[in-house]
């Protein structure tokens, strides 16, 4: 930016100096334009200052609130952005000097983006409408607003525990989330579960409980099958449920246990009773494989004949009483 040292004439407009102008559509004297460009730059600097000053003025000096503040910020920050953009497009990019179709194609691209915004915002920007509600998003908003008081502390990556306002229907949640695989009665025979290899656990069989306890159940729900050396088909639900909710779900699972438990299932609203850490017999008959990496293929060998026969029998017996 050392144009001060140049001594080209500034006075001529509209004539070229005999150089071939085989590019660009205009033949104005470029040197005269240099001053013009610097003036535009000066304007852009002023606009920049205004766009910063506006919100500062609104907040720290005038202490504006609500709609007035919103309008001031909108006009100074965004309105000025549009003006700045127009200046750059017109004077630096010379859009007005190009053939019209250039403005049409760029304008169309911008129009398509507005189309995209206005047609998608009703679904994404709003969190509730007729007959629907995005509860997860509303939760996130509420939690964020509550936590927001402390500046300087970024939110963590895991779900924060919500307040106690929303009753967590553990049994309903089990039916909808766990039931498809584990069955609504916990028998490992849900409609999806029967197609899986290995089959999902059945909580109604005593053998299942011989080496598992409540802490194990909590861990599996939270971290998934590989955390206890079992199949990746059991996903981890830490991102979906907070620790309280996981405890409630574990209670539901415990309720399927064949032997009667001394402690009855806790009410969903009660805080979970912290259990003594029961030592899980880790080593003996259950070789805990180093958590099978989630990248392992789904089915180790494929479906054997015996398995096919077993499934056919199961289907014939339970699902297709009338046909075949």
């Amino acid at each position: 930016m050392s144009e001060a040292t140049h001594s080209h004439d500034h006075g001529d407009h509209g004539h070229d100096h005999g150089h071939d102008h085989d590019h660009g559509a205009h033949g104005h004297d470029a040197a005269a334009h240099e001053k013009h460009y610097i003036k535009v730059w000066g304007l852009l600097m002023i606009l920049l200052v205004v766009s910063i000053a506006g919100p500062i003025l609104a907040d720290d000096v005038l202490h504006l609130e609500g709609l007035v503040r919103f309008i001031v910020v909108l006009v100074t920050a965004f309105g000025i952005a549009i003006v700045k953009a127009q200046q750059v497009v017109k004077h630096f990019m010379h859009l007005t000097l190009e053939p019209k179709f250039v403005a049409y194609i760029t304008g169309t691209a911008v129009a398509f983006m507005m189309l995209f915004f206005f047609f998608v915002a009703p679904d994404v920007m709003k969190h509730a409408g007729r007959n629907w509600e995005n509860e997860a998003a509303e939760d996130a908003v509420r939690r964020g607003m509550e936590a927001g008081g402390e500046h300087g502390a970024p939110e963590g990556t895991t779900t924060e525990p919500p307040g106690h306002e929303q009753p967590f229907e553990a049994r309903l949640e089990f039916t909808t989330t766990c039931g498809p695989c584990h069955g609504t009665a916990g028998g490992g025979d849900g409609p999806t579960g029967v197609t899986l290899t290995p089959r999902p656990a059945s909580f109604t069989e005593a053998v299942f409980w011989e080496q598992r306890d409540r802490a194990h159940i909590v861990k599996v729900i939270r971290e998934g099958g590989p955390s206890v050396g079992r199949s990746v088909l059991m996903a981890s639900f830490a991102m979906q449920f907070n620790p309280e909710q996981i405890e409630a779900l574990a209670d539901v699972v415990m309720s399927f246990r064949p032997e009667p438990e001394p402690e009855e299932i806790a009410q969903p609203e009660e805080p979970p009773v912290p259990l003594e850490p029961v030592p899980i017999p880790e080593a003996p008959s259950e070789p805990v494989v180093e958590a099978a990496p989630p990248t392992e293929p789904l089915t180790p060998e494929g479906i054997t004949e015996a398995e096919t026969a077993r499934r056919a029998a199961f289907i014939a017996e339970r699902l297709l009483p009338a046909s075949r």
Binding site: D22, T108, A109, F112, L115, F116, F119, V120, P122, D123, V124, G129, R130, N131, W132, N134, A136, A137, D139, A140, V141, G144, T157, T159, P191, V194, T195, L196, G224, V232, A235, S236, M239, Q240, P293, P294, T295, E296, P297, L298, T299, G302, I303, T308, R311, I315, L319, L320, S323
Partner: protein, 581 residues
């Protein structure tokens, strides 16, 4: 300055012959790059077709050993259906219809010696090839290939614990993103070449329709893919960095992915449709010796369709939970967009009407396109009505509909174009008899595959289901026999591609040698040698008329090449002056 004074000189005929590695692997010649795209696309088609074979076998013989594969596990099944869709759209339809035909034809048909940016052209192919390699790698990594369908809805695609293919899913996204970049680069080349490098005298209305269509397709692609590129980056970050763009519990939204995807996804189908329509237009004019019925109408209709295509996308999301009032809007726009396409069909019929029709193999393919695409189009109306779609969505009815549109586009359109331009590309003729055998062996089984699938869809067959054994109301004999019919037809259709491949290779090596213009066509590519040399034309042509002057009353010949100078004093179309447009 229009630099046209330099054009009438010679092109690079003094070029020395490059080393074979440069010629085949590092070429900047648009014809070679077009061939590279063509062969890559054809190879990927074999893979995508094989996947279809494997998953169809699994459906009709659930849990049993599939010859040449083995048992198809549920994860593999998902990988096959995902791979089939992804490959066929992005790595077969687009490279062959847009990039291969576009690269090969555009400079030849507008009368110049190459694309305006040959090195960027080469780069675009190299990026494309890389994307194909990345995609194939995604099938081979531990965990297997991505199985979340070509639509990759979140959160399944975003959360590795759900899709169980963390490497495969990431590579899938990267492959698609690379492919997009390749086509953006290629598209700029096509658009700028067509706008700026036309032969003197070729006004906008003298450009052959297929060139227009490929350029419009490139523009459509360019204008729609942006949001999805943004979405792909966001998805990549969700998969690998732990961001939550699409996770509502952290402020994201899975529905946003759907909108980002389909805002591109719907214009995309027109991106592949337009070149096929263009190819058909060229063929029906040549082989009925008749002018295109309404050139300007075809052009404006195509432009209108392209614009409209940006207003229909949420018809893919009718039951995804969008605002029902939006669904009404999209129903209206979807039904409206069928009008210009229907009108195009009428124009093509009007072009054929009264023509001197020759049923050559390309003509057969072009006619088949019109019939089959019509079926696809009308079945789309049912799906476009949001009320009916509540039932139809995610059933095989949808699948049959889009195969009745995609298959004509990607397969019939490709074969039409290949059989028509083969003599120009390779300098030899394909065997006509084997071409007809291939034609009937493809078309009849094609209908045998998808008509039954309309019915299975109506009866409730869900899409993307590994096995119907566990669905009591779908596990019936009638449905199973329909599925079997579809699968058997598919195998027959695959088998009939063998004669085509043999015909293709043998003819390219020792078919009957072809003249410059065996079909007596008007367009400029037929004035070059078969195959054209580097630089295309010894003397760059000048254009004097439009491309469809067939059976002109003032002429003895029933065709009138674009570059033939008018006779002095004759009542022909005046030669155009220097081209400023």
């Amino acid at each position: 300055m229009t630099a046209t004074t330099a054009d009438h000189g010679h092109t690079h005929s003094h070029h020395h012959e490059p080393h074979w590695a440069i010629k085949y692997l590092w070429s900047t010649d648009h014809k070679m790059i077009g061939m590279q795209y063509l062969f890559t696309g054809m190879a990927m088609a074999l893979i995508g077709g094989y996947f279809a074979y494997a998953f169809r076998m699994q459906i009709v013989f659930p849990g049993e050993h599939v010859p040449t594969w083995g048992i198809v596990t549920p994860a593999e099944y998902n990988q096959f259906i995902t791979g089939h869709g992804t490959i066929m759209i992005f790595w077969v339809a687009m490279p062959v219809l847009v990039a291969a035909f576009g690269n090969f034809l555009i400079p030849l048909m507008i009368g110049c010696d190459d694309m305006v940016f040959p090195r960027i052209n080469r780069l675009s192919y190299q990026i494309f090839l890389l994307s194909a390699i990345v995609l194939i790698a995604s099938f081979l990594v531990p965990g297997g290939g991505f199985g979340g369908a070509w639509t990759a809805y979140t959160p399944l695609s975003a959360v590795p614990e759900y899709n169980l293919t963390p490497l495969g899913a990431t590579l899938w996204v990267i492959a698609v993103a690379l492919e997009f970049i390749a086509f953006l680069l290629g598209g700029v080349n096509f658009i700028v070449t067509t706008m700026n490098a036309r032969a003197p005298g070729m006004k906008y209305n003298d450009i052959p329709i297929v060139v227009w269509m490929i350029v419009l397709a490139s523009i459509l692609f360019m204008a729609s893919v942006g949001p999805l590129i943004a979405g792909a980056i966001m998805l990549l970050f969700d998969q690998n960095l732990g961001t939550h763009f699409f996770d509502p519990a952290h402020g994201g939204d899975p529905l946003l992915w759907q909108h980002l995807f389909w805002f591109f996804g719907h214009p995309e189908v027109y991106v592949v449709l337009f070149p096929a329509l263009g190819i058909v237009a060229e063929i029906i004019t040549v082989f009925s010796r008749k002018k295109l019925f309404a050139y300007k109408m075809v052009l404006y209709t195509a432009i209108a369709t392209g614009v409209l295509s940006f207003f229909v996308w949420a018809h893919h999301q009718f039951i995804a939970g969008i605002d029902p009032r939006m669904a009404n809007v999209f129903t209206a726009t979807t039904v409206i967009i069928s009008i210009p396409i229907a009108e195009l069909c009428f124009v093509y019929v009007a072009t054929l009407y009264g023509g001197s029709i020759k049923f050559t193999v390309p003509m057969l393919w072009a006619l088949a396109f019109m019939v089959e695409f019509l079926i696809g189009g009308v079945t789309g109306i049912f799906l476009g009505a949001s009320g009916a779609d509540i039932y139809f969505h995610d059933t095989y009815f949808v699948l049959a509909h889009f195969h009745y549109t995609f298959f004509p586009i990607a397969i019939i359109g490709t074969f039409a174009g290949l059989t028509y331009w083969f003599p120009k590309m390779f300098g030899r003729h394909l065997n006509e008899t084997w071409g007809k055998i291939h034609f009937w062996g493809t078309i009849l089984p094609f209908n045998g595959i998808f008509i039954p699938l309309f019915f299975t869809g109506l009866l409730g067959d869900h899409r993307r289901i590994y096995s119907y054994e566990h669905f009591p109301d779908l596990n019936t004999e009638w449905l199973q026999s329909l599925r079997m019919l579809a699968t058997v037809s598919a195998i027959m259709m695959f088998a009939f591609q063998v004669p085509f491949l043999i015909n293709f290779v043998m003819s390219a090596i020792r078919g009957k040698k072809a003249d410059k213009n065996p079909f007596k066509s008007n367009t400029l590519e037929w004035t070059a040698d078969s195959p054209p040399p580097h630089g295309n034309f010894p003397v760059l042509p000048t254009v004097y008329r439009g491309p469809y002057e067939y059976s002109h009353p003032d002429r003895e010949d029933d065709y009138w090449p674009q570059d033939e100078p008018p006779k002095k004093g004759s009542a022909s179309l005046a030669p155009a002056t220097e081209a400023a447009e």
